[in-house]
């Protein structure tokens, strides 16, 4: 009986691990959230803590955080993918280093400093935080788009040209399609980065979970800081998980 069950088990293994692996991340995230909730409910919260740690505020801050992340990433897509394509063209080889340097600079400059500088120009608020986030997250998408397009076998491009496809058709039907996995990987990195960096939005009054972290630190209320930090981390993990699913679903079949 046992032997039979084992045999059935081994025969099925090829399909199983991948299916289960996809469930590990959400299960871990759920466990972390439940633990956090259980721990916070054991605490005697004072009035200051209660002002932060209630459902309305937590939902509010989480929504703000996600809004910042999604808006920034959308802008990154619009900016970085076209720039990556421009940088990947060999006839633009003089512009490519400029684009890459700008992208590198965006990531090298401390985001907090950038946010402060942006405040002088744009004042405080959502749009300022957005500028900082976009500048910070452009590089991975830009770089991956460029590399994804450049790594395509030149024989494919030659075949496409030899068949009479126009430059636009080659870009849309061949190059971008084949660069999809690389672009998605870059986007996934950018999203996760953005979730983390969006906590800094609190410094320019853009809200988000960073507000909990900063308030907790300022008022010396550890539980508030911890809730903010754990929630941010959980969102980052969750988005990374979604990104992984998207990569699997959207990558062209056949490659």
């Amino acid at each position: 009986m046992t032997a039979e069950t084992l045999a059935v088990g081994t025969a099925r293994t090829p399909a199983r691990p991948s299916g289960l692996r996809h469930l590990i991340a959400p299960a871990a995230i759920a466990a972390a959230l439940v633990t956090l909730y259980a721990w916070v409910s054991t605490l005697e919260l004072d009035s200051i803590e209660r002002r932060s740690l209630n459902q309305a505020v937590l939902v509010d801050k989480t929504v703000e955080h996600l809004q910042m992340t999604v808006a920034a990433t959308a802008l990154v897509v619009v900016i970085a993918i076209p720039l990556g394509i421009v940088a990947s063209r060999s006839r633009n080889r003089f512009v490519t280093p400029l684009i890459l340097t700008a992208g590198n600079l965006g990531q090298a400059v401390p985001c907090i400093g950038l946010l402060v500088l942006a405040t002088f120009v744009l004042g405080v608020g959502f749009q300022t935080a957005l500028v900082g986030l976009v500048v910070y997250a452009v590089l991975p998408v830009l770089r991956n788009t460029m590399v994804g397009v450049q790594q395509i076998d030149p024989a494919l491009i030659e075949a496409a040209r030899g068949m009479g496809m126009t430059k636009g058709q080659i870009l849309r039907r061949v190059e971008l399609k084949l660069a999809v996995p690389a672009i998605l990987a870059g986007l996934r990195t950018a999203l996760v980065l953005t979730v983390g960096v969006a906590t800094l939005g609190a410094f320019v009054a853009a809200g988000g979970l960073g507000e909990l972290i900063i308030n907790g630190l300022k008022l010396n209320r550890m539980p508030v800081t911890i809730v903010g930090a754990v929630l941010t981390a959980c969102i980052a993990f969750f988005i990374d998980w979604l990104g992984g699913l998207a990569e699997n679903l959207l990558k062209p079949r056949g490659i």
């Binding site: 076998d153 024989a155 494919l156 030659e158 075949a159 496409a160 040209r161 030899g162 068949m163 009479g164 496809m165 126009t166 058709q169 061949v174 399609k177 084949l178 062209p252 079949r253 056949g254 490659i255």
Partner: protein, 332 residues
């Protein structure tokens, strides 16, 4: 365009030159060549001799510096390059199948670019896969990486033929396969070409391949200068110079024998002789010679008669002292 007649059109190259900027000498220097309609012409020459560049100027993947190209009498340099290329089949050594598209979608690419209706495209894909001996039901929905090298090359040829272009350019299309698969593909392709009669320019550095497939061979030296342009038999019989002779190698006569079939020489007697070593009908003279040498015989039997060693010598035009006597004697 020039493909109203899909059975092949004449290609004329006139004083064609390609000079890359910054290079001391042109890559292709003043080439003039006529390729008759419906013939397969092989450009053969060492690596870097400009044969591929010459070929690529015909579909303008390389823009000529000067000169003229006419296909079916029409000046190619006056046409839009993308539009031109849709009417010229193109197959390359690396095949270049799109990995994210199925075999069917790959083959359908050019007809779709030309705006064929979907039903016509689907029927054409079916027809082409059958033409290159791939079962449409099995292969249409597969992705290129699921195919063997030889199967990919077949799809490459099918894709080049897709819109039934009168002209095909092929750059070592069978180069990336193992020798057995290559020979198989070459034989199939030769058969296909007999039936289709496209005007084909075929680039290779493999002289054997050139002999096997070409109606004519252009032996090129550096800068694409034409050392000799003639039929395989004539080049083997009378190489224009040492360069061409060097390209042929030491066994020119054997190669000529390989071009001829046992049916091409006069029979000593019109009946097969079971006492003699036998070769199959349609065998090449090279195979007949092989059989004779292997059995230390001076004649062998084919299903339609007996051929002699002297007849082989006669076929390649070399005198054999006892030949007249032997042939007339007719007995052993």
């Amino acid at each position: 365009m020039f493909d109203r007649d899909p059975a092949g059109v004449r290609i004329e190259l006139r004083e064609l030159t390609k000079h890359y900027p910054g290079q001391p000498a042109p890559a292709v220097d003043n080439v003039s060549l006529d390729i008759p309609a419906g013939e397969l012409v092989v450009f053969v020459g060492p690596s870097g001799c400009g044969k591929t560049t010459t070929m690529k100027m015909i579909n303008r993947l390389v823009e000529p510096t000067s000169g003229q190209i006419r296909i079916g009498g029409q000046d190619v340099l006056g046409l839009h390059p993308d539009e031109l290329r849709r009417h010229i089949g193109y197959a390359i050594q690396q095949v270049g199948l799109f990995p994210h598209l199925t075999v069917g979608q790959n083959v359908a690419m050019v007809p779709k670019l030309l705006g064929w209706p979907a039903a016509k495209v689907a029927a054409r894909v079916e027809e082409l896969l059958e033409l290159v001996s791939l079962d449409p039901g099995t292969f249409r929905d597969r992705y290129p990486r699921q195919l063997s090298g030889g199967q990919q090359q077949r799809v490459g040829v099918a894709r080049a033929l897709a819109a039934d272009p009168p002209v095909m350019l092929m750059d070592e299309p069978f180069g990336a396969t193992d020798p057995i698969t290559r020979e198989h593909l070459q034989n199939e392709f030769a058969k296909l070409q007999k039936q289709l009669r496209k005007t084909i320019i075929f680039v290779t550095h493999d002289f054997e391949e050139a002999i096997r497939l070409g109606d004519r061979i252009a032996v090129l030296r550096e800068r694409s200068h034409i050392a000799q342009y003639d039929t395989p038999a004539n080049i083997l019989a009378a190489p224009a110079d040492d360069y061409v002779a060097g390209f042929i190698g030491q066994d020119a006569t054997l190669k000529r024998l390989a071009l001829l079939r046992v049916e091409d020489v006069p029979y000593e007697s019109p009946l097969p002789d079971p006492a003699l070593p036998a070769v199959a009908a349609g065998a090449t003279l090279r195979e007949a010679l092989d059989t004779m040498v292997a059995h230390a015989a001076d004649r062998c039997s084919t299903p339609s008669g007996v051929i002699t060693y002297a007849a082989l010598c006669g076929a390649v035009g070399t005198a054999h002292e006892q030949a007249p006597e032997e042939v007339t004697a007719g007995d052993r």
